[in-house]
Structure formats: structure tokens, C-alpha cells
């Protein structure tokens, strides 16, 4: 600072010069990053195209062939459609049930895990890093891995999918819940402690009421994600609407009206639960502000 007064007075030209130099440098950097990014995207798509069974440029005009086929068959057999919708309704309910049960079990697990992994609340403070690592690993395992293994051991059906999704949900929600827990006030916990409450009582009566709306909001979002996951797992043999879809697809031409019915059911279910969950989440957040 002392040097400045000794030097010649700084003119506006100097400032402008420095500023322009800095701007140019910044622009150069962001230009370079942008160029690298574009190059990566182009090279990446090129490589993906080369490693694909069919090329993009050969196939892009066929994109609409399959939807058109499905649609035309669906229209042709339009009178049968309501019957199909009714046939696949139980499978759809199973898919939603898988999602709901796994979200419920996963959320209960996540509450316990997150409380054990939050500083200030943990039952065994030394084990916090252990529980965090466990949650990281649970989050990193894709549902399909556990589902496929459990299908081998337990046989097909909804249970492997439920366990697989619940396992992942514990990790995913646990992380979010522990972030929520960190913002919870410790005063009620201390109050409860002073009257001799044990750990589970402190958590149940002191922490959960504070964080329940946030928990619920995240859980609803998870439920929405889990419906999609449960449909996908059905496709690899875990029951529900995904399994029916796979069967309908493998029958091939002439049976696409059933596929169309499943597409419609799946689409409507996803949109419905999307809307429901965002409506309730909206209410939860606004209700808390009041």
C-alpha cells in the first residue's frame, strides 16, 4: 500500500488498460473452456455413435416408425384398449406398491441412519464417519445390481425390487436428512436430556417434530423417483408393469396394442404422482413459512 503513493499517480487510462487486459484474459479462459467442452461433446457423440449397433444418421428417420406402429395398432384395436388398461391395472398397482413400500422402509431407515450420522445428535459420535461411509456406499449401488442378485436368490417378484430400491433410498434420503438435521435446533434436545430422556426419546420428541416437514418433502420427491425405478426394475424381471411391458414387447408386431396400453398407464401414473408430489411439497414449504 505504501508503494502506491510513491509511484506516479494512476490515470484512468491505466485502470482501463488493466481492466481490459483482465477481461481479455478471462474471455480467453472461458473461450478455451467452452472450446474444450464443445470438442468433448462432439468427440463423445462421435464415439458413442461409432460404438452403437446402428448409427445415428442411419436410424434417425426411423425414430418415429416404432411409435407410429404402436399408435396405429392401438387405434386399429381401439375398442380393446379399455379392457387392456383394466388387465394391466393390477401390475400397475404392484409397481406403485413396490415404490411406496420401499420409500416407506427406506425413509425409516434413512431417519435412523441420518440421526446416527449427524454431529451433535449422534448416539455414538465416534461412529459418525462410519455411518456416513455406509450411506455413501448404499447410495452408490445402483438398484439393478441388488435387484438382479436378489432375483437369483429369492426368485422373481416384487420383493427383490422392494429391497433393492429401499436400500438405495436409505443412502439417498439419509444424506438429505442429515443435512436437514444439522439445521435443527439443539435446545429441545437439551431440554429433554435435562429431564432424563434417553437417546431415542430425545430424537423422537426433540428432533423429529422440527424436521418432519422437510423429511416429508424429500420423501415425496423420492417416491416420485422410485416409481420410475420400480417400473424399470420390472423390466429386468422384478414384477409389476415393467415385466408386463417386456412381455408385450417380446410378442412383437400384432401385440403392440398391449404395449400401447402399458405406455399409457405408465405415463399417466408418472405424471399423476409427479403432480401430486409437487403439489404437496409446495404446500409443505408454504405451510412452514406461515
Amino acid at each position: 500500500m505504501a508503494d502506491i503513493s510513491a509511484q506516479a499517480p494512476i490515470t484512468t487510462d491505466d485502470i482501463r488498460h488493466d481492466y481490459m487486459a483482465m477481461t481479455r484474459r478471462k474471455r480467453l479462459y472461458s473461450g478455451a473452456i467452452l472450446a474444450i467442452f464443445v470438442a468433448l461433446m462432439v468427440a463423445g457423440f462421435d464415439l458413442a455413435d461409432a460404438r452403437n449397433a446402428g448409427g445415428f444418421w442411419d436410424g434417425w428417420h426411423n425414430i418415429l416408425d416404432f411409435p407410429a406402429q404402436v399408435l396405429s395398432e392401438a387405434i386399429e384395436k381401439a375398442p380393446e384398449l379399455p379392457a387392456h388398461l383394466l388387465t394391466f391395472l393390477p401390475a400397475l398397482i404392484e409397481t406403485v406398491n413396490i415404490a411406496a413400500a420401499s420409500t416407506l422402509l427406506g425413509a425409516i431407515g434413512a431417519i435412523v441412519m441420518s440421526l446416527l450420522a449427524t454431529r451433535g445428535l449422534a448416539r455414538w459420535p465416534r461412529l459418525i464417519p462410519v455411518f456416513r461411509r455406509i450411506m455413501d456406499i448404499m447410495r452408490a449401488v445402483p438398484e439393478i445390481v441388488i435387484a438382479l442378485i436378489l432375483i437369483f436368490v429369492l426368485g422373481g417378484g416384487p420383493v427383490p425390487a422392494m429391497i433393492a430400491i429401499a436400500f438405495h433410498t436409505v443412502g439417498a434420503l439419509g444424506k438429505l436428512f442429515s443435512e436437514v438435521n444439522e439445521n435443527a435446533s439443539l435446545k429441545p434436545v437439551e431440554g429433554l436430556q435435562s429431564v432424563g430422556a434417553n437417546w431415542s426419546q430425545r430424537m423422537l420428541l426433540g428432533v423429529i417434530p422440527q424436521v418432519a416437514p422437510n423429511y416429508l418433502s424429500y420423501t415425496l420427491l423420492r417416491f416420485e423417483i422410485n416409481i420410475r425405478a420400480s417400473a424399470i426394475l420390472g423390466f429386468v424381471g422384478a414384477g409389476g408393469i415393467g415385466y408386463e411391458l417386456k412381455n408385450a414387447m417380446s410378442w412383437g408386431q400384432g401385440k403392440f396394442d398391449e404395449a400401447a396400453a402399458i405406455f399409457i398407464l405408465l405415463f399417466l401414473t408418472i405424471v399423476l404422482f409427479d403432480q401430486l408430489s409437487s403439489y404437496f411439497r409446495d404446500r409443505l414449504i408454504k405451510g412452514r413459512g406461515a
Binding site: 467442452f37 468433448l40 461433446m41 463423445g44 457423440f45 464415439l47 458413442a48 455413435d49 460404438r51 452403437n52 449397433a53 446402428g54 448409427g55 445415428f56 436410424g59 434417425w60 426411423n62 425414430i63 416408425d65 416404432f66 411409435p67 404392484e94 406398491n97 411406496a100 413400500a101 416407506l104 422402509l105 455413501d136 456406499i137 447410495r139 452408490a140 449401488v141 445402483p142 438398484e143 439393478i144 445390481v145 438382479l148 442378485i149 437369483f152 436368490v153 429369492l154 426368485g155 417378484g157 416384487p158 420383493v159 422392494m162 420410475r228 417400473a231 424399470i232 423390466f235 429386468v236 415393467g242 411391458l245 414387447m249 405406455f263 405408465l266 405415463f267 408418472i270 405424471v271 409427479d274
Partner: protein, 447 residues
């Protein structure tokens, strides 16, 4: 405050508490009722029947151990030694792992703890400590067997003997003799041939030997330096196919990368059309929003099926499926972020005489960049997981290898290997995206 008022308040409070108490008991009860319904709807009582403990045992056992087959074929009078009984793991005639010794035509297998199996001129002898030697000879009329005590009807559980078949199962190994052949299985810990297969000159060398070979100038393979030869033998390992696995992992990350960033590039301009404060036409806004809802609602599963019909299986199909689904998610998120931008900054830029595009570039983009980037990086990590699942459906990347290995129902060590790699891949993507988020946006997320 009058007495009546306090009384009313007391009444109110009691009612409130009663209500809360009912709710507090009702919610867990409802959960319990739902789980009870699920218990029967998913037929969990019947699960015990469908579950296969044998499958679980193979799975767990296979994931940390391997077996070596020693097979004597009575017709050709030849002995073959193969790891997991696979052709890729077959030893050259007259060679085998260290516990096998060859003495002319006599092959002696030391199973450990005093268990010794000898193949000698068509006769197999299994010498079991505290029990005695069992001999068996495959012949056209059945298996000729002798036992140290009793005959074939009076043997313990772990010996299963009939006229045409003898099976001896101990903790050290398993011997099966039928009319045409004798087979010995020995279980060992570890993943067999993980580094080098039997045809590689580096197989069976210890770590120290390999390190010294790597730095020695005596070439094991004349045309290549030792390090290059080792790397290529490892990379092209026929049993574990490390090269293919690395490609598959890369393909999976590629799908996630292209899908996520491609979706962002498509969604950003569309988000301007869907945001209330940037798009004056209600019709356009409504239309674009419904497009977002539609591509999101159709879901990656259906997009994958539709796209796989046009492009066939592979990473491009997976990348495009992720791209389409996430265009919907990003479009929704970005347009919400755009609706929350501060007008003041845009007005400031406008006051300097900036044109429309410059106003967006300098007034809007800097405001939404943090939200945008943090969402992008979050999705990149979660899409790595989706890409694994989509790969399993559409046939690309590590998801495909995983399902293939599982369908064979015997290469569980490979399944374990892939699972470990998938978990590592997702965790690395998680930390990379977290690190990038920290660098680009600063530790304090949001405002």
C-alpha cells in the same frame, strides 16, 4: 383475562392436544397397516419356499473363491487340469497348480490337511486322514470301489455311493467318479487368473519377481519391453477381459456425460421460452411446458425402448434416452430459476445500452449459473447410476456386462468384480462432481 376466557383456552388446548395425540398414534398405525398389507400382497410368507439357499451359497462362495477341476477321462485315458473347468483356464498337459505333482502317468493332488488324491492308471485313490483310503476305478460295468471300512451301503453322509457313481465331499475338496470319468474339485480363495492367464509368461510370478522383471532388460517377449508385455497381457486377459471392462465403464460414464450436458444445452434455450418473465406469449409458454412434462413423464425406460428400435443397442441409444428425459427435468428447473432472477441486474445492463442478447448474456446467465451448474453436476452423478441401469436394458456399458455375467449364473466372481467397479465409479463421479461444484460455485451453496 376472565375466568371464562381461560376456561375456553384450556378447553381449546386440551382439544388440540387430544387431536395431536390421535395423529401421532394414527400415523404409525397407518404405516403398520400398509406394511401388513404389503406383507401379504407381496406374498412374503411364501418367499421362504421360492428362495433358494443353494443359489445364495454358490453366489457367496464363488465371489471369494474359485475351484480347480482335475478331470480323468476313462475313454481317452487323459487328465486335464482346468480352472473353473473353462477352456480359457486349461493348463498345458502335464502341468498344473503347485498342489498337483506329476510323476509320469501318476498325478498326485495334495488337498491340504493330509487329504491326498492320486490318479494312477485309471484308478483314483482318495486318502482321508482318520478315515482311510477310498479307491475307485471307472469301468464299463459301473464304478469299482473299495472302502477302508464297510461297503457302499454303510458309508457316512459325506460319501454318496451307488453302483454307477461315487461322490466324496470334504472340506478340502470334492471327488466324483462315474463310469466314464473321475473329477476332482479343489476350492481356493481369491479370484483366479486375475492378473495374467495361463498362456502369459508372467503367470504364477510373485509381485517382487514382476517388479524386477519390469525393470530388467532381458525381454521375456522379444518384440516388446517387459512392462508393455505385462500391460498388454493384463489388458487382454481372456478370463477377466480387463480391456473390455474398462471400455464398458468408460461407455457408461460417456452416456451419463453426453446425456446430462446434451440435455442442458437443449433445455437452456427452451427454458427461456417457458419462463413467465421472458416469454410473453402464453401459448408458447404453455406449449413448451407441456413438452417438458411429456418427455419427463414418458421416462427413460420407454425412451430407451423406442430409441433402441431405431438405433440398436449401444451407448448412443442410452445417451439419447438420458438426454430426452433430462431435457424435461432441466427445462422445468431452469425455467423456475429464470423466473426467480433479479430484474435489477438486467436493468443495469440495459442502462449501458446492451442489446437483447447481451442483456441475457450479462444480466441473466451469471445469475442462474450457480443453480444451473449445481443441478447439472448433481444429475451427472445420478445419471451415472441411471446409465448403468439403461445399459442393462439397451445393451451397452457396464450394465450389459453385469447382466451377461449374471445370466450365466456361475461367474459370480466376475459379477462381484463388476459390482465393486460400479460402486467405485459412482463414488468417484460423486466426489468429482462435488469437487467441481466446490471449485465453480464456492463452498457456500446457494445464496
Amino acid at each position: 383475562m376472565t375466568f371464562a376466557a381461560t376456561h375456553d383456552m384450556h378447553e381449546q388446548a386440551t382439544r388440540l392436544f387430544r387431536g395431536k395425540r390421535i395423529v401421532n398414534f394414527a400415523i404409525p398405525l397407518m404405516m403398520l397397516a400398509y406394511l401388513a398389507y404389503i406383507f401379504f400382497a407381496f406374498d412374503i410368507p411364501g418367499l421362504a419356499q421360492r428362495a433358494s439357499i443353494d443359489n445364495a451359497r454358490t453366489l457367496v462362495g464363488d465371489s471369494y473363491s474359485y475351484k480347480t477341476h482335475v478331470e480323468y477321462d476313462a475313454r481317452s485315458d487323459a487328465i486335464t487340469v482346468a480352472i473353473e473347468g473353462e477352456r480359457k483356464g486349461t493348463y498345458e498337459p502335464g502341468t498344473g497348480p503347485g498342489w498337483l505333482s506329476f510323476d509320469g502317468d501318476i498325478v498326485r493332488g495334495d488337498l491340504g490337511r493330509g487329504h491326498v488324491v492320486t490318479f494312477d492308471d485309471g484308478t483314483v485313490t482318495y486318502d482321508i486322514p482318520d478315515y482311510g483310503p477310498i479307491t475307485a476305478t471307472p469301468s464299463r460295468n459301473g464304478v469299482d470301489m473299495t472302502f477302508p471300512q464297510g461297503d457302499r451301503t454303510t458309508q457316512p453322509d459325506w460319501i454318496n455311493a451307488s453302483k454307477n457313481r461315487l461322490a466324496v465331499t470334504t472340506d478340502q475338496g470334492r471327488l466324483t467318479v462315474t463310469r466314464t470319468r473321475a473329477e476332482l474339485f479343489k476350492y481356493d480363495y481369491g479370484w483366479e487368473l486375475f492378473w495374467f492367464t495361463l498362456d502369459s509368461p508372467f503367470h504364477g510370478k510373485s509381485f517382487g519377481e514382476l517388479v524386477s522383471l519390469a525393470f530388467s532388460s532381458d525381454r521375456v517377449v522379444p518384440e516388446k519391453s517387459n512392462i508393455a508385455a505385462m500391460a498388454s497381457d493384463f489388458w487382454t486377459n481372456k478370463m477377466w477381459r480387463h480391456g473390455d471392462v474398462a471400455w464398458a465403464l468408460f461407455e457408461t460414464v460417456l452416456m451419463a456425460f453426453l446425456g446430462t450436458f446434451g440435455a442442458a444445452i437443449v433445455a437452456l434455450p427452451l427454458a427461456f421460452l417457458a419462463a413467465r418473465n421472458f416469454s410473453p406469449l402464453i401459448a408458447v409458454r404453455f406449449g413448451v411446458r407441456r413438452v417438458f412434462d411429456f418427455v419427463r413423464g414418458v421416462d427413460a425406460l420407454i425412451w430407451t425402448i423406442v430409441l433402441a428400435r431405431a438405433f440398436g443397442p449401444g451407448p448412443l441409444t442410452g445417451a439419447l434416452a438420458i438426454l430426452l428425459t433430462d431435457t424435461g427435468s432441466f427445462g422445468k428447473l431452469f425455467s423456475e430459476a429464470l423466473e426467480n432472477v433479479d430484474e435489477k441486474q438486467i436493468e443495469g445492463v440495459q442502462s449501458t445500452g446492451a442489446k437483447q442478447l447481451q442483456r441475457y448474456r450479462f444480466g441473466v446467465i451469471p445469475q442462474i449459473t450457480p443453480v444451473l451448474l449445481s443441478q447439472l453436476l448433481y444429475y451427472l452423478e445420478s445419471n451415472t447410476r441411471s446409465a448403468t441401469i439403461i445399459g442393462a436394458i439397451t445393451g451397452g456399458g457396464i450394465g450389459l456386462l453385469l447382466t451377461q455375467a449374471m445370466i450365466t449364473q456361475k461367474d459370480w466372481e466376475e459379477v462381484t468384480y463388476y459390482i465393486v467397479l460400479v460402486i467405485l465409479m459412482v463414488m468417484i463421479m460423486d466426489s468429482v462432481s462435488g469437487w467441481l461444484r466446490g471449485r465453480l460455485i464456492g463452498r457456500a451453496e446457494g445464496h
